[in-house]
Symmetry: C2
Subunit: 224 residues, 2 copies
DNA sequence: GAAAAACTCCCCCATTTTGCGGTATAATTG
DNA sequence: CAATTATACCGCAAAATGGGGGAGTTTTTC
């Protein structure tokens, strides 16, 4: 549980000049961590001031270090990278956080991005690409590995054929927004009774018997 | 309304060999369209078989052309690029569609991606980057311009410090799922009256006075 | 051209939910 | 200590909900 932060003393490569972009690393594997540190400091453009092996330590020294970019692993001892991202973003929202991990499962990707990550790279990335990604991140981009970008885009795609008619879908969407029958009727310029009929049919088709049930089924099946 | 498709006769550059990736273009500006065609056909790797100035024509010949990639503009006469994307994806879901437009507004980006676009580029892209992006797309990536990638990532972020307490947020989330006070009480193992109190406070803080209002405000402000 | 589906509207009924007005206690936190 | 948060309770009246039934019109589909 007790860890210490690893100081990276200035070398001939990293003149700690004001013009370099400050990066900290959170990565539990020492080999990988050290190689990232070297890579970054040898880039000339970036300065890795500290590298930690867990989020707890990184958070402890975060305010002091005040980095521009955080390079974060996901699988970590103690609190996860996902939680770490949230905490860092809470401390200083403008910090750019880039995830570098072996995990490319949907869940991890979404969790990390939702937690506030600004980029997501897979660990098999080439050194040059990593540096390029950091550049891109600093310029305001959101570097992602090819497969990650595809996953992210896919999360916008809603496929599956709906059992509901267009009108029913429309009604259900409004219902899911918390609108009452009356409000829906007004929105769609139809009678409240018609809305009731639609909802009765929706419940029939979705095999539910309440608003909450319908919304649950609909969002699970991506009908809305 | 009446438009014709512009044939791109084979040139010394585009040997219509089986190994080239077939691309069609939908772009209403003739200058831009022609420059894309030239660029693509001179790349050696891709073959632009047809270029259309609207979606209607593109859709008409879509099955015949059966392209691997569609390069789509958003602002088009007749049906929009967004609608066009939907229709193409309906015809052949595995088609890779990449948007190239001057528009970088959030709405357009989300609409396009939700419609099924696999990539989104801004028109100031360099010729080399465009070709690179097509390569990336064909390899399964999701090429995006820097600023677009950032927007997409940001759509995952839930920032803004919530005015709501953790418990209130919890209650609001369940409320947004269409649950009744009673259901929320059961879910949270608290009394129904307590739920009522929380909701009263939520309405106060969000300055609304109905379920629908709270959900609207909450989703706009990304509180849930 | 007939059948099916979709969209529209209406009635009855009982129950639940909702929103608003209060009050109040214990725990936490700055 | 004051403020915030989370908890719980009461009463009340209006609104919403879910179930049942029926019945037209238009649109789509076969």
């Amino acid at each position: 549980m007790i860890t210490e932060n690893i100081s990276i003393p200035g070398s001939i490569y990293n003149n700690p000049g004001e013009n370099k972009v400050k990066i900290i690393i959170v990565e539990d594997d020492e080999i990988i961590r050290e190689s990232f540190v070297s890579l970054i400091n040898e880039s000339g453009r970036f300065l890795c001031t500290e590298a930690y092996e867990d989020c707890e330590t990184a958070l402890k020294y975060f305010k002091r270090e005040d980095p521009d970019i955080v390079l974060m692993d996901i699988e970590l001892p103690g609190i996860s990278g996902i939680e770490g991202i949230k905490k860092i973003k809470k401390l200083k929202p403008e910090t750019d956080i880039i995830v570098i991990t072996v995990h490319s499962e949907d869940d991890k990707v979404y969790d990390a991005l939702c937690a506030g990550a600004n980029g997501y790279l897979i660990k098999n990335i080439s050194p040059q690409k990593l540096i390029d990604s950091l550049e891109e991140l600093y310029r305001g981009g959101a570097p992602m590995s090819t497969e990650i970008a595809r996953k992210v885009i896919e999360s916008f795609h809603r496929n599956s054929v709906s059992p509901l008619s267009p009108r029913e879908t429309e009604v259900l969407q409004l219902l899911a927004k918390g609108k009452s029958y009356t409000m829906i009727a007004n929105d769609l310029f139809i009678d409240k009774e018609t809305v009731r009929t639609h909802i009765k049919n929706i419940y029939l088709k979705l095999n539910v018997n309440s608003k909450a049930g319908a919304i649950e089924r609909a969002s699970k099946d991506k009908l809305i």
